[in-house]
Symmetry: C2
Subunit: 199 residues, 2 copies
């Protein structure tokens, strides 16, 4: 069965976003760019980790990661990533509000799943074949899949910043049985940590 | 002026102890040993980091790190570390309850400070001379000194475990301006991260 991975950039105090996310401030009232400077300012040094993120053949994300609209889909929204999102694969978006699939350029199609995380995972597994399924975020989606015991490999990208408030990926998760895979790697803008989640 | 450092072992979800600490369970209702396996099972690989912890010429710790007694000193207690604690220097213990100094073997003396964190820091600076002052823990002591802007160098030892509850060093601290010092190092039981706290 396909491996389920999860890549998240987090602050040193465990947040993957601040409070009050909006279209103008996708990461909320914090310096959200601090979470991803390593990807852009040090693309070469971190090329292997970025490639690993984009290896999956299907992705799952929460609706709040997909966009700023809450409640009904009251206006068009095609994601944060332009017409050719980096996923190049099916992306299953968890939501309580049905929406037609959104085919994008480059092989990405956003599918909207209204019947829960297990259904989304089943659909993503089927789409991925023997490829990886990646839990893309945000915090609440990651914590739900951790609680469900569905993540095989957790890959944290720890950035040298603290937010002090916002959304934590481990909130409500409780103790996990983790095995670190190898030693940490990284730069002065990020530390890559990989864990096998033992069940 | 002497540099103020702070070394803390933390879980991946940011805890340095679990809930309900007691004499029988110094780290509370969690697998507290998981925080320090790296020191004991991999002493050689981590010798440099342990040496750095023991470089300081004065230490400050919270009363709950010193021992399990809460409220009045209602029975003798000489710390968790036996008659020759590893500090070999003055250790200033923050408490609301006065206590005579406790000289131990090997150069460690526990002094009990009842007039607050600034007083403890001033006394530790004086004792350290041009050596380092180390904030030794626990979580609440670390967060108080972070909030006060008194820590120059924060050294986290991140262990591959989550507690899900307990005491977090960053609780109530808010956003910090951190500069990571070099790249992470470590083993499969610990990741060492060093930060300059910029004011």
């Amino acid at each position: 069965m396909s491996k389920v991975t999860c890549d998240v950039s987090v602050t040193l105090d465990g947040f993957s976003a601040g409070p009050n996310q909006s279209e103008a401030r996708p990461f909320g009232d914090v310096d959200g760019e601090a979470l991803h400077r390593w990807m852009f300012e040090q693309a070469e040094q971190n090329a292997a980790e970025v490639a690993d993120i984009l290896t999956a053949r299907a992705y799952i994300m929460g609706r709040n990661m997909f966009g700023p609209i809450r409640g009904d889909w009251d206006r068009p929204w095609r994601g944060w990533w332009g017409e050719d999102p980096p996923y190049h694969s099916p992306v299953f978006v968890l939501t309580h509000y049905a929406h037609e699939p959104l085919p994008m350029q480059g092989g990405t199609t956003f599918y909207f799943v209204t019947d829960g995380i297990e259904s989304a995972l089943a659909q993503a597994r089927e789409a991925a074949g023997d490829g990886e399924v990646s839990i893309a975020g945000g915090a609440h989606t990651v914590s739900q899949y951790l609680v469900a015991g569905a993540i095989d490999e957790l890959r944290l990208h720890v950035t040298p910043v603290t937010f002090g408030q916002g959304e934590r990926i481990f909130d409500g998760v409780g103790p996990l049985n983790l095995e670190q895979i190898g030693e940490a790697t990284g730069t002065d803008l990020v530390t890559h940590l990989k864990y096998r989640v033992v069940r």
